[in-house]
Symmetry: C2
Subunit: 428 residues, 2 copies
């Protein structure tokens, strides 16, 4: 990790900058594949699955038999673990259901909001080295609680035309039945336009590589919403002398193993702590199967020594990390100062892995500085909040004159007139 | 208005389609202006203000004196009306502040969400024929309630270098002090990149013409969030024999006067009602100052006769209107069937103008079918909901094993290890 000692405040702007990727070429590729899918549907999904995933797919949708086979392949221990995670995620997200609150803003003028599910949602689960069945829980559970009527899951098949059994087990556990063997740009295109097999959806969720990210970005141009813009995963740890070097080292490595482009930052006011953490880090690194990936990520990572923990928090708010671990004395009070972050882990026993899997919070979070202006996925992400208003005769009489005056001042006379015709009846 | 009698369900797909605009050329223009602003700041704002608004601007920011002058130009009646609207909007949006709810998902595992304001937000208010000071209220009030620390307002100047006094009055009333005389693409570019005068922001709100819309879309490519994608304004009215033709005609016209591209739909199960409404519409139209605009919009508008009110609601849910007026018997029960809409107006006395100005609900709503997957602006739009979790020793002991199993199954051993190092201490 790069070590930066007492940087000047002027240097912070550079230190908090993310690497920038130019995806113009990617967007061109996306446009070509999208156009093909729009015109020729499933055929094109099969074509690109053969090119990118190197497998010929006959039936794109996962059959009932495949779901049953998958369930048999999962150990009872893993099933219990997944069920525990499901239970906690469901508890946390169910608590986000809002009671309808009727507000009488003026006598006779009642306003309220009601949640309605986004009817059709798509969930993308990457394939590749790590089968992210935990993401099936993180997106499927709130979609079900919200009441989305159609939940479509796309994930790339392996060379044997199969989907990882843990992904299928998690899908059936949360009640997702429409699963399709298609990944990458072609999956996002299918969810955007719909094909003979894959239904079109109104909003697409889920992580992915740069191809998937570019395709999700492009989907927005066709009226489809997405969960949030994406970038490489990140953790920022703020630690003082009360932190445990072995714990912090393990947390930094758990982020670093995600990918060579993972962003890892350690901020501290204690120089001795840095040395101890580096030592623990080297020891733990040796034993990791994804050691090479983690090493690459660490080469770009930063340890920054600052004067105070308050300065560390200011830096963190400027950086706006996806994950923020507070391994300090009085971490709970420090958490009150958080302005920009995706999810915050308080104290020595709150590791990022807890939130990644089973604490109950959602692990789909804003990266790349987007924690400044976006929230992570929650129940809100699967609903629209529709406003309602009901005015009585008395209600329009009470606010009608104000509306008439404002509409006239905005030179919108028909807006005024919609009130006037109602007040005239009132006068009778 | 075009009259469509008992269309087949197959025809609904076409009838609910919006006009599609190709904005490739616009995007090119936006890119050129954005690049210039990025490099040369204020100079470029002045250059395009001269080209597009035909006025030379010296000081881009509105001075204290100009605020004071504006206040004097507003009648006491209009001030009182604006204050009444402010009061109702504040009441409705303040009720959206959520209490923090601590959820213990497992003993020793506590999770919660807290709102944090988006620190820097930009509000765009169009100039042109209608000075939309009501939008200053609709965006400024929730921004203030959320606690946004920097609220920057941009709006184009008139030929005398002035801003409409009602816009300035509304701005100072809600507590916005940073107002800049710049409109169009150049305003959005300034808010995206920042210039010597105009600060850069994290999220941009507000309506605008196709240039502003294209610029807001482009701003997203530079990490700036926007309130929502935009399109022409819309109203859909569902009316039965209990509706009042004069009211419905006035509501249709209040939408039609917005612009030639406004979308206006009337759905009913009663053929007689259509004739009466058309009659009232012709009478009211004659007296409108924006008659020509309204006529153009009406030429593209549709009256659709369907068999039942239930069919009308199904059609509306497929169309997903920005504004939905329910002028029917038992409108409140019918409202329960709404799945896709921006804001709903229930009963004969709930005109769209009420929500546009003073009922308390927000008038910044999803158009163009986006009510299927987006909510209108609310307090939520100005905050991030950050998740927090705090685990005790006992907490990680309770869920640690599940995390270890899941992380291992996802082949993320460092994630597992972050738990293992903590459980080992626990065992001591």
């Amino acid at each position: 990790m790069k070590y930066i000692k007492y940087p000047t405040t002027e240097a912070w702007a550079t230190l908090t900058t993310r690497p920038v990727f130019d995806n113009d070429d990617l967007q061109k590729t996306v446009r070509i594949i999208f156009d093909e899918i729009r015109q020729r549907g499933d055929k094109i999904l099969r074509k690109y699955t053969e090119i990118f995933d190197r497998v010929k797919i006959e039936n794109l949708n996962v059959s009932k038999v495949e779901f049953e086979e998958a369930e048999k392949l999962i150990s009872n221990e893993l099933k219990a673990a997944i069920q525990l995670a499901k239970c906690n995620i469901a508890k946390f997200h169910s608590a986000q259901v809002e009671a309808v609150q009727m507000i009488e803003t003026t006598p006779g003028v009642v306003c309220w909001r009601e949640n309605r599910p986004i009817e059709k949602v798509g969930i993308y689960i990457p394939g590749g080295s790590a089968p992210l069945f935990s993401t099936v829980l993180m997106l499927g559970i709130p979609a079900k609680i919200a009441g989305c009527t159609q939940i479509v899951l796309c994930t790339p098949p392996n060379k044997q035309s199969k989907i990882n059994p843990a992904i299928l087990y998690a899908a059936q556990l949360v009640g997702i039945t429409e699963v399709f063997k298609v990944g990458g740009i072609q999956a996002i295109g299918a969810l955007t336009f719909g094909t003979e097999s894959v239904p079109a959806v109104y909003k697409i969720f889920g992580p992915g590589n740069q191809f998937v990210t570019a395709a999700k970005q492009a989907a927005q141009n066709y009226g489809v919403a997405i969960d949030m813009p994406a970038g490489p995963s990140e953790v920022l740890v703020i630690a003082d002398q009360t932190a445990v070097p072995e714990f912090v080292a393990a947390d930094l490595l758990s982020q670093a193993e995600h990918g060579a482009d993972s962003q890892v930052l350690l901020l501290t006011d204690n120089e001795e702590f840095i040395a101890k953490t580096n030592e623990a880090l080297q020891l733990q690194l040796i034993a990791l199967p994804r050691k090479e990936i983690a090493e690459k990520a660490l080469a770009n990572s930063k340890t920054i020594l600052l004067k105070t923990i308050e300065e560390c928090m200011n830096f963190s708010n400027l950086y706006a990390p996806e994950h923020l671990i507070l391994a300090t004395k009085n971490a709970r009070q420090l958490a009150e100062k958080v302005v920009n972050a995706g999810s915050v882990f308080i104290g020595n026993y709150s590791c990022e892995s807890a939130g990644d899997y089973a604490s109950g919070t959602n692990h789909t979070l804003p990266t790349n500085g987007f924690a400044r202006n976006y929230s992570g996925v929650s129940l809100d992400s699967f609903v629209k909040k529709i406003t309602f208003q009901e005015l009585t005769k008395q209600g329009i009489a009470n606010i009608g004159n104000a509306i008439e005056l404002m509409a006239e001042a905005e030179q919108l006379v028909a807006h005024k007139n919609a009130v006037t015709v109602r007040l005239m009846v009132n006068d009778k």
